[in-house]
């Protein structure tokens, strides 16, 4: 059984997260640049005519397929390495995964 973990973190923390994951033995990942916002409805900045809401802030999105037994561990590694304690630290999602197949070989993990 496998899980797909999707983490959305601060770009500034990516290097640390990546290093932590690699050290703990989870190097495989797919990464993309995204923008996002969380529950606090974006950040409100002051402008002349009252508050302005900033909607979308650059983030890094990490996608990792891992065996279900390690999902919890990986989530914890990411959360610890990505945390600053301030708004915008990000989220980690775990999705069920039916199957992962290598392209190079015929290998398939279910």
């Amino acid at each position: 059984m496998m899980k797909m973990i999707i983490a959305v973190i601060r770009p500034e923390k990516f290097e640390q997260v990546e290093k932590a994951l690699t050290e703990k033995g989870f190097p495989a990942m797919t990464v993309s640049e995204v923008r996002g916002r969380g529950e606090q409805k974006g950040i409100a900045l002051r402008s002349r005519g009252g508050p302005v809401t900033v909607d979308l802030i650059p983030k890094i999105r990490i996608e990792m397929a891992v065996p279900a037994t390690f999902a919890e561990t990986v989530v914890q590694i990411i959360r610890e390495a990505a945390r600053t304690g301030k708004i915008g630290d990000g989220k980690v999602f775990v999705l069920p995964l039916d199957m992962a197949a290598k392209v190079r070989t015929e290998e398939v993990s279910i």
Binding site: P11, E12, R35, S47, V52, V54, P58
Partner: protein, 398 residues
């Protein structure tokens, strides 16, 4: 001397080329910051240039080139360009004024390095006006407007002290007052767009020919010499930094272009006084020295983020001193240390140090005052969101 059409043609175009260096600095810096600050970083260069463009014709030119007052600053003769006309000596007075204007604008743009990714636009405008008036204008007067440095015999062909020491050490002072970026040292802050930095670097290298050769103020052999040594020093600096960064890992393109800028900075004061072979030495040493300065800055945890200090400050310092070492009478009429003229060498050291101390201290004071009154820095939330959105309401992608 009447107006010479060849010289005038040359300085007109050189002025335009130097103008192009200011957006060049903006692009260079814009590529080095994080993606959320790229527009803001480029804009600061344009804003710096626009503000100085107006200040210079209203009063800056007069402070720099008006009748000398105590060796320190120019008088008010030329306020609003009074008496600066289409006639002149070789080139029109208005053109000389314009050539000096583009230098002043560029210099303020370099200073923005010290406040990258964290300064309020409004405060930058106020700070910039004060800085160009109280730091740049006096320094320009000292060297070129008949001030004490000129009287002493200090050599600064195209602005090693006036432009580079002032902006480099100014950026350092500003960085110290404004403080580090949030997360500096713990987060990674990767350049967002190296090709943009290389475009900026190309425009700088191109414009620098106008900067240095144009400082001959005539299309003659001296200008040709300045042109050649400028290119040579840039090439030597590029190769030196490239090789040095190679030695520590890989030959980075940013190292190469930074080395080129270091070479260009260092040759600036010397361009009318040294020959091409000396330029190889000046440029190569500049590349190594500024690379070392950058490593030192990083080790010390100084967040003078885009290395105006390491490259312009230290490169300008080395250039001022190198002028006192490598100057040769056959080129500019003055010999340096290598040809036995210790005196000139000492003058150069004194001049450079005076400019350094003045620029650093006054910048520090100005930044401190603006910080206490208006606040230099954006809020932490604005910094996190990025200045593109928080200062300009714009962004580079959805």
């Amino acid at each position: 001397m009447p107006i010479d059409s060849g010289d005038t043609a040359f300085v007109l175009i050189c002025t335009a080329m130097v103008m192009l260096m200011t957006p060049g600095v903006g692009l260079f810096y814009g590529g080095l910051v994080r993606r959320k600050n790229i527009i803001a970083m480029i804009s600061l260069a344009f804003i710096a240039f626009s503000v100085v463009s107006l200040q210079w014709i209203l009063c800056g030119y007069s402070f720099a080139f008006g009748t000398d007052i105590g060796g320190f600053i120019g008088g008010l003769d030329y306020l609003g360009l009074a008496g600066v006309g289409m006639d002149g000596d070789g080139i029109p007075d208005l053109l000389f004024m314009a050539f000096q204007l583009v230098f002043a604008g560029l210099t303020l743009a370099i200073v923005t390095s010290g406040a990258a990714e964290r300064m309020k636009v409004s405060s930058f405008i106020v700070f910039g006006l004060l800085w160009t008036t109280l730091v740049y204008d006096p320094l320009a007067h000292w060297a070129w407007g008949g001030g004490w440095a000129a009287s002493l015999g200090a050599l600064d062909f195209a602005g090693g002290t006036v432009v580079h020491i002032s902006s480099g050490f100014g950026a350092l002072a500003l960085a110290l007052v404004i403080g580090r970026r949030v997360g500096f040292g713990t987060y990674t802050m990767e350049p967002n767009n190296i090709p943009l930095t290389l475009i900026g670097g190309a425009l700088l290298w191109f414009g620098w020919f106008g900067f240095n050769a144009g400082s001959a103020l005539a299309a003659n052999g001296l200008a040709a010499n300045a042109f050649v040594v400028t290119n040579t020093s840039a090439a030597a600096g590029a190769i030196a930094w490239l090789v040095a960064s190679w030695y520590r890992g890989k030959p980075s393109s940013l190292g190469m272009i930074s080395g080129a800028i270091a070479g260009l900075v260092a040759i600036t004061p010397a361009a009318g006084f040294v020959d091409p072979l000396s330029a190889i030495a000046i440029g190569a040493i500049a590349g190594l020295l500024c690379y070392g300065a950058m490593l030192f800055r990083l080790r010390r945890g100084l967040d003078e983020s885009l290395d105006a200090w390491a490259i312009h400050g230290m490169g300008g310092l080395w250039g001022a001193i190198a002028t006192g070492i490598f100057a040769v009478a056959a080129v500019g009429g003055v010999d340096g240390l290598l040809y036995g003229n210790v005196h000139q060498f000492l003058i150069q050291v004194v001049d450079a140090c005076a400019a350094l101390v003045y620029a650093f201290c006054v910048t520090y004071a100005l930044a401190w005052i603006v910080d206490r009154t208006l606040g230099l820095r954006v809020s932490e939330e604005e910094e996190y969101v990025g200045l593109d959105i928080s200062q300009h309401g714009e962004s580079t992608r959805v």
